[in-house]
């Protein structure tokens, strides 16, 4: 049994608390215990950096320090949280002055950033810690006949310093989907485009153009569903897609959901039953 600290961010609580339940049950099937890092806060969403970059570093030094206090590595699912936290870690690990300054503040809470915990994203965690083999063995309901378009999202591939896979030609997501028995589609128009989630509240027109590009591309190649390891990309696909004028109505899945389904968890519990754009495939 592997134990790892789970950073929830905004994506796994409140309205989306059920996504954590799905995540947890899915991980049980592959012998991973995810421990919720309770005291953590929002990573700043790559927006607090506009206010002040040091504030973003401090918030995330604190978040990482909470995992270190538990003696656990940190697992992050959201691509953006992952990037923001991994960037902060790099800054803290390479700049002693910054680290000392922030540690002086964390001390008040009895915390210290030491740099001992590794930050994993779902993709490298599956590849390096769990292993594709263990995923394959846990499959009870192979996704036979499912044509699944693989969509990574940006913040696990760029910038290079924090990328979890080969940024130009990544393979981890395809490997995972293959292990589930799906037919993987990784060539389609828009596969590298941004999902548009973050621009919904800065320039909405961008979001809709991006969705058009990606989901239009997915539809054109005849995929049944698009799967992404990022809960934000997923929300852009499932929720913001309903804002499109000529919505292509492409179903999407947050990666842990179809994993859970393939591991034998029912559609309802896997979360697949609750999408705005119905997942018809059985």
């Amino acid at each position: 049994m592997v134990k790892v600290g789970f950073y929830q961010g905004c994506c796994f609580q409140g309205q989306d608390a059920h996504m954590f339940e799905t995540m947890k049950e899915m991980f049980e099937k592959i012998d991973v215990e995810v421990v919720l890092l309770e005291e953590t806060t929002c990573c700043g969403g790559n927006t607090i950096d506009e206010e002040n970059r040091k504030l973003s570093y401090a918030i995330n030094a604190r978040n990482i320090a909470l995992a270190e206090r538990e003696g656990l590595d940190m697992l992050v699912s959201c691509n953006t949280c992952y990037m923001v936290i991994a960037k902060a870690k790099r800054a803290l690990d390479t700049n002693k002055k910054l680290r000392d300054e922030i540690n002086a503040l964390l001390k008040e809470e009895g915390l210290e950033y030491r740099g001992t915990s590794r930050i994993y994203h779902l993709l490298d965690f599956f590849r390096d810690v769990v292993g594709y083999d263990r995923i394959r063995k846990a499959v009870k309901r192979p996704l036979k006949g499912w044509k699944v378009a693989a969509y990574y999202g940006c913040h696990v591939l760029y910038p290079k310093e924090i990328a979890v896979d080969n940024s130009d030609n990544p393979s981890s997501l395809q490997e995972i989907l293959k292990a589930l028995g799906a037919e993987v589609i990784d060539e389609y128009e828009g596969k590298d485009a941004c999902c548009g989630y973050h621009s919904f509240f800065t320039d909405k027109s961008m979001t809709l153009k991006k969705l058009n590009r990606i989901l239009g591309g997915v539809k054109k190649v005849g995929a049944d569903i698009v799967a992404t390891p990022c809960p934000l990309c997923f929300k852009s696909f499932d929720i913001y897609q309903t804002n499109m004028e000529n919505s292509p109505k492409v179903p999407s899945s947050f990666l842990p959901e179809i994993m859970a389904y393939a591991f034998g968890i029912d559609k309802e519990k896997a979360g697949l039953a609750h999408h705005l754009i119905k997942v018809e495939k059985e």
């Binding site: 609580q13 409140g14 309205q15 608390a17 059920h18 339940e21 005291e39 953590t40 806060t41 929002c42 700043g44 969403g45 790559n46 927006t47 607090i48 950096d49 506009e50 206010e51 002040n52 970059r53 040091k54 504030l55 401090a58 918030i59 604190r62 503040l105 008040e108 809470e109 940006c154 913040h155 760029y158 910038p159 290079k160 080969n166 940024s167 130009d168 030609n169 590298d192 485009a193 941004c194 548009g196 973050h198 621009s199 509240f201 800065t202 320039d203 909405k204 961008m206 153009k209 991006k210 929720i239 913001y240 897609q241 309903t242 804002n243 309802e268 519990k269 039953a273 609750h274 705005l276």
Partner: protein, 371 residues
């Protein structure tokens, strides 16, 4: 000798009706630029591309390999072959630019776009001596603020890879914002010019950047346009340009994270777009189910200490916005009222009783919709 196949984009507008790809077998040796030079010297002297320094200085040799923007003289052939696992390597000119011939593109457009952001020093006579016999000194500490940006060599890799350029023709381009930012933090530059740059940056698409980070990834010189864009956004808000949705989003983040440790996605549409409807629809539905709607996680035990850290930094640092304490107090009041019967408590109770919260959540989710 190990070889690889390059499928090179060919197009001579004077002769060719449409572009086509021509295949060349090249040695897997040295850089992509070496391979192109090999073609020119040994296989096909008609191939046109730009290159000069061969050492990542002049910025003229950027192009795309299987869609990914690369600086040819910095990219080892071996790395390309390994990355693409034996697949053919398709070489295209930079994206978003007009092709002059083969891999040579017209860079006038992005240069003109850049010029609209005043990418030069407008000296402040109070700082820069007008007497040419006097030096204008820059101290090393000052250089820190723009030490990366000055390395931009106008290779347009970032312009080619940019997600904002792709969907907004007005967008000035990642490098252009970095050039502008470089003068925004120069002490010698006059305040009126800084103000203008911000104004022009906003009309040039400052808020259209989607923060994809591709510009950081492709820049051969370690410039970080996406981060400079964040800095410029901060400056814009600080200078009072607060009417754009992005500025309101920032305010939401600054206040809510301080107040609760989290953003609040229920209030975000309302605070940014004035869209009350989404929240009210949900609130009503929750209330009918006997749940007072709330999206804030329970304040963590360390919330007050977290606030201290937050304030400590903001009190010392240059920042875009001051915390709006009246907003924070309002949030505080809502939190304390609502935590009597909030969704988190209900979920927690369900968990304690060994039930799943999914039934409840799924009912609510259907109401979420878009908008």
């Amino acid at each position: 000798m190990e070889t690889a196949v390059l499928q090179v984009f060919r197009y001579d507008p004077e002769k060719d009706q449409t572009p086509y790809y021509k295949e060349y077998e090249v040695p897997v040796e040295g850089t992509l630029l070496n391979a192109l030079l090999y073609i020119k010297d040994n296989l096909d002297p008609t191939l046109a591309f730009r290159a000069f320094c061969r050492s990542e200085v002049c910025g003229s040799c950027s192009m795309r390999v299987n869609g990914k923007t690369k600086l040819a003289c910095k990219t080892p052939m071996k790395e390309l072959v390994e990355t693409w696992k034996g697949k053919p390597l398709r070489i295209d000119p930079l994206n978003h630019l007009k092709v002059i011939k083969d891999l040579v593109v017209d860079i006038d457009k992005p240069i003109e776009k850049m010029k609209t952001l005043i990418p030069w020093l407008v000296p402040d006579p109070r700082v820069v001596p007008t007497d040419p016999m006097h030096e204008s000194i820059i101290y090393p500490e000052e250089m820190e603020a723009y030490k990366d940006q000055i390395h931009c060599m106008l290779c347009f890799s970032c312009y080619s890879a940019c997600e904002a350029v792709e969907d907004n023709d007005r967008y000035r381009g990642p490098f252009a914002f970095s050039k502008a930012y470089r003068f925004q933090v120069d002490r010698r530059d006059i305040e009126t010019a800084k103000e203008k740059r911000i104004r022009y940056a906003i009309s040039g698409g400052l808020w259209s950047c989607v923060q994809c980070q591709k510009c950081l990834y492709v820049c051969p010189k370690g410039v970080k346009p996406a981060e400079d864009i964040q800095n410029l956004r901060g400056q814009a808000v600080k200078k009072g340009f607060t009417d754009k949705p992005g500025a309101k989003k920032l305010k939401h983040f600054v206040d809510w994270i301080y107040a609760t440790g989290q953003i609040n996605r229920l209030y975000l549409p309302e605070e940014v777009y004035g869209n009350r409807e989404a929240r009210e629809k949900l609130t009503k539905a929750y209330t009918e189910m006997g749940v007072e709607v709330w999206e804030v996680p329970k304040p963590t035990k360390g919330l007050m200490k977290f606030r201290d850290i937050y304030l400590e930094i903001l009190s010392k640092e240059d920042k875009a916005l001051d915390l709006d304490f009246s907003h924070v107090r309002k949030i505080d009041r809502m939190v304390s009222e609502i935590f009597k019967a909030d969704i988190c408590t209900i979920i927690d109770r369900a968990h304690e009783e060994g039930r799943s919260s999914r039934g409840l959540i799924s009912k609510l989710k259907g109401l979420l919709g878009g908008k």
